[in-house]
Amino acid sequence: MKSTQADVDAAVRTIAQTVVDNEKAFSDLDAVAGDGDFGFSMARGFEKVLAGWDDFDRSDPGTFLTKVALVITSRIGGTSGPIWGTLFLRAGTTVKGSETVTGEQWVAALRAGVEGIKTRGGADLGDKTLLDALAPATDALEKALAEGADGPAAVRAFADEARRAADATSTMQARRGRASYSGERSIGSVDAGATAVAVLAEAVASR
């Protein structure tokens, strides 16, 4: 697996478009135990990414991701701005300088994102946040690559595990984020952020 700037370009564009297309779906997920603004917040940020699409610095994938991160943090509010901004920023910093990004680099980039999010938001695995989809999906990506999967198959493995893990959040009780105020009532519905990770990964895998 080796991603060129064109590959990363296409993937980020898919992610941005999928966020915009899922504005209502994501907000409705957040309305179950949260405050219903997740889709709105995300869409405002990623539509700004799309609006400025042609102007991003594309020297290399890392620089590109960093610039996208800045737009995200400048427009996404709520919890999601800092969280998704951190994800893109850490990923970008990790792969900065490389013309192409290898599978191993992607695993490292996502791991850096996971760690950054933990530090930023104080959540850990099992707290019913997007970490509960992102971390196991990254493990699955690593495993698929180790087993010799090509790029598309590896991304598919990431997406499948993200979906499984996102669905599994429905049995968890939220301990971070606004859903945590629901206490036991948060059990029985999936986490909005985790589900978004699955939806976005599936969109990238299906390209």
Binding site: S27, D28, A31, A33, G34, D35, G36, D37, F40, S41, R44, T73, S74, R75, I76, G77, G78, T79, S80, G81, P82, I83, G85, R120, G121, G122, R175, R176, G177, R178, S180, Y181, S182, G183, R185
Partner: protein, 331 residues
């Protein structure tokens, strides 16, 4: 959805525009960062007091800007903390020689945005402090939770530190004072109905015709329990008693009593609630030294109310008495 709204994405900017048009001489509006500020801020020698949070809680906080209250507010979208860039830009614009105090309600998103905004502002040499407000007794506070929420009681922290700032208190003194006021402030709210965020276009949660949500958050977050609808005496008791026992407040205490409407409850009912709460406190030997009956921190169009108690001492009382003028006004 039954609302005065054009494009839901423009709800906050259009509201801020109206606010600015209504107060051309006293407020400054910077659309790029949702900033509403005193026209004369930053004031030399005075710490600038800034509050941000999601929108949808009006008059908090954009309509609480003015002499003796906030120097600026930088709201996010409805129920979403502002992007950290807005915080950073606001801190820069409000930077006075005495520094900037960022008042933050204790929510994950708000904490992150303001922490990051503070870091960025400090990196430019601006003196900034962050003060967390967490007055909501409905939430159990433990290391397994994100801690108590900041709700209507933040009015008292804002009022007190703003009054002290006008008198020249230092940033450090204001942080101490704010913590002290926060530590004697307790709030609990209940929802009779859900609220409808403009962008969602439908109620955030469902509540049966004979139920209310006790301990609701100002973003429609669930509270302590769903209860069967009851008369006002019962509703007030269920709000007030957990507050009184939490600090605890006790016989001989003098308090500020706030009855805050959540947006859809008319002021007639708020005064009815006030009368019951005042009497219930009096029956326990607790005296109301100052009272507040109005909308202070709403949850869009939610019907319901919160009650806040602040334990008064001569310093706090005097700061609450100090003159102030804000956009929210009658005349």
């Amino acid at each position: 959805m039954k609302k005065f709204v054009n494009d839901p994405r423009q709800f906050v900017p259009e509201m801020l525009r109206g606010l600015a048009l209504a107060n051309p001489d006293t407020l400054r509006y910077v659309p790029e960062h949702n900033l509403i500020a005193r026209a004369d801020a930053p004031v030399k020698g005075k710490v600038s007091i800034v509050q941000g949070s999601g929108s949808g809680h009006e008059p908090a906080h954009v309509m609480a800007v003015g002499p003796g209250m906030l120097d600026a507010a930088c709201p996010g979208d409805v129920f979403a903390a502002p992007p950290m860039d807005y915080v950073y830009e606001t801190a820069k614009l409000m930077a006075s020689d005495a520094g900037v105090l960022l008042l933050v309600n204790n929510y994950t998103g708000d904490r992150m945005a303001f922490d990051m905004g503070r870091e960025m502002a400090e990196a430019e040499g601006i003196k900034v402090a962050v003060l967390l407000i967490d007055d909501d007794v409905a939430v159990k506070d433990s290391s397994f939770t994100v801690g108590r929420r900041g709700v209507a009681g933040n009015f008292f922290v804002i009022k007190a530190v703003s009054a002290a700032a006008e008198r020249g208190a230092s940033l450090e003194e204001l942080v101490e004072l704010g913590k002290r006021v926060n530590s004697v402030t307790r709030t609990m709210g209940l929802a009779l109905t859900s609220c409808t965020p403009p962008a969602k276009g439908s109620p955030l949660f469902e509540l049966a015709d004979d139920e209310y949500e006790l301990g609701v958050g100002i973003h429609g977050e669930p509270g302590r329990s769903r209860e069967k609808m009851a008369g006002a005496d019962v509703l007030v008791a269920n709000l007030l008693d957990p507050i009184v026992s939490d600090l605890p407040f006790s016989s001989g205490d003098e308090v500020a009593l706030m009855v805050n409407g959540l947006g859809g409850t008319p002021i007639s009912e708020l005064y009815l609630v006030y009368g019951i709460a005042h009497q219930r406190l009096a029956d326990q030997g607790i005296t109301v030294g100052k009272n507040y009956v109005n909308e202070y921190c709403t949850s869009l169009d939610m019907a319901g109310a919160s009650i806040t108690l602040v334990k008064l001492d001569s310093e706090i009382k005097e700061l609450l008495d100090a003159p102030a003028e804000i956009a929210l006004r009658v005349f």
